[in-house]
């Protein structure tokens, strides 16, 4: 019984860490994408100004 509880807790612990990492990953994805989008806007602005 004790072993089973330990296994279950181990599973949960790993799951917890990975889930939180995924959540952090999600925020990371968003930051990276957002950093690239305004840059694209600025670049096209510069292109228009040059023409």
């Amino acid at each position: 019984m004790k072993e089973a509880i330990l296994v279950a807790l181990e599973v949960y612990y790993m799951g917890f860490i990975i889930s939180i990492l995924i959540a952090a990953l999600i925020k990371g994805i968003q930051l990276v994408i957002r950093r690239f989008t305004p840059k694209k806007g600025a670049e096209s602005e510069r292109k228009e100004a040059a023409e």
């Binding site: 089973a4 807790l9 949960y12 799951g15 889930s19 995924i22 959540a23 990953l25 968003q30 994408i33």
Partner: protein, 400 residues
Amino acid sequence: MNPAMLFQGVGTLFYQDPKIAIARIVLILLGILLVYLGRKEVLEPLIMIPMGFGMSAVNAGVLFLSTSQTGTIFIDPMVTETNGLMQILQIDFLQPIYTFTFSNGLIACIVFMGIGVISDVGNVLRYPFTSMLIALCAELGTIVTFPIAHAMGLSWGEAAAVSVIGGADGPMVLFTSLILAKDLFVPITIVAYLYLSLTYGGYPFLIRLMVPKELRGIALKPTKRNDVTSGEKIAFDLIASTVLCLLFPVAAPLFLSFFLGNAIKESGVTKYIQLLEDIFLYAATFFLGLMLGVLCEASTILNPKILILLVLGMIALLLSGIGGIAGGYLVYLINHKKFNPAVGIAGVSCVPTTAKVAQKEAARVNKRCVILQYAMGANICGVITTAILTGIYITIVPLL
């Protein structure tokens, strides 16, 4: 002429072990009951109507395969040896579906693709930590049931498979039991789908029990319009799928299926969306229900462990529901009381059933209350957490 040989469905009743004969009759009646409850929408009709029909037909239509053997010409889930299997494939009409889509998990994956195509991950991207937290709390059943199941005599694999019922994802349970508890996968999956169908009817009571009216109706003001583009969602689908496949290759088919389905939704390719949503999802659900019913043949399903499974399945989903709502409370406290704890039930990832339950219960108390978005975020994170836990179980159990 021997009357038993003329109407073999009846004749076999007298030939078989009385326990099996009685079980057959009970299952026939149960099948009829399920169709009725499905029609009344007490249970999910999409699964229950084919399942109920299959269940009563397969238990009625037993014949003498030879002078000493009874069986049906529906399926034989027990045949594994190649020559025997080829023969059965040409005789039993549902055997091809069973062998080529069910026992290898394909049908579960197709259902998952369908679920991916009707889900909006936007809310996962807007509120990742809140959704994940709730989803993790809603996995309480998946974790606590494991030691209980083991203490009740199940093997590690069987205990894991039953615990995954607490993750409230039919395809996951099917997948896990096929890999970890092959001998019990039929009863485990049936119990899972049965209870999952009940969540729509049962969870509202859990919410009313655990969340007082004043809190149930808390309306959540949508925060500044946090625009999540389709591109972001597809990026998330791709990255999450790859990362999770890297971590848990055993559950890779499921990850691929869900995220691919979702990416197709976000891609806007209408023909593919229609293919997955209208054809795949419903075809797979239909055959899944039918398969489950037809697998409930008395001699296959009569297993002393089934009562234990019924108890454990209920424990798993009950604890997950409680855990989810507790998670909702946690977020409520963290957000300085600006949250609706009922959203927590949506962490139990029966997509989109539990999210709808949360919204319905909230709207009952406060008709202006809209929490569906938050509920969906938790719902989908629930799928992800269940998949992660499933992957961990499948990886760890063989090492025990």
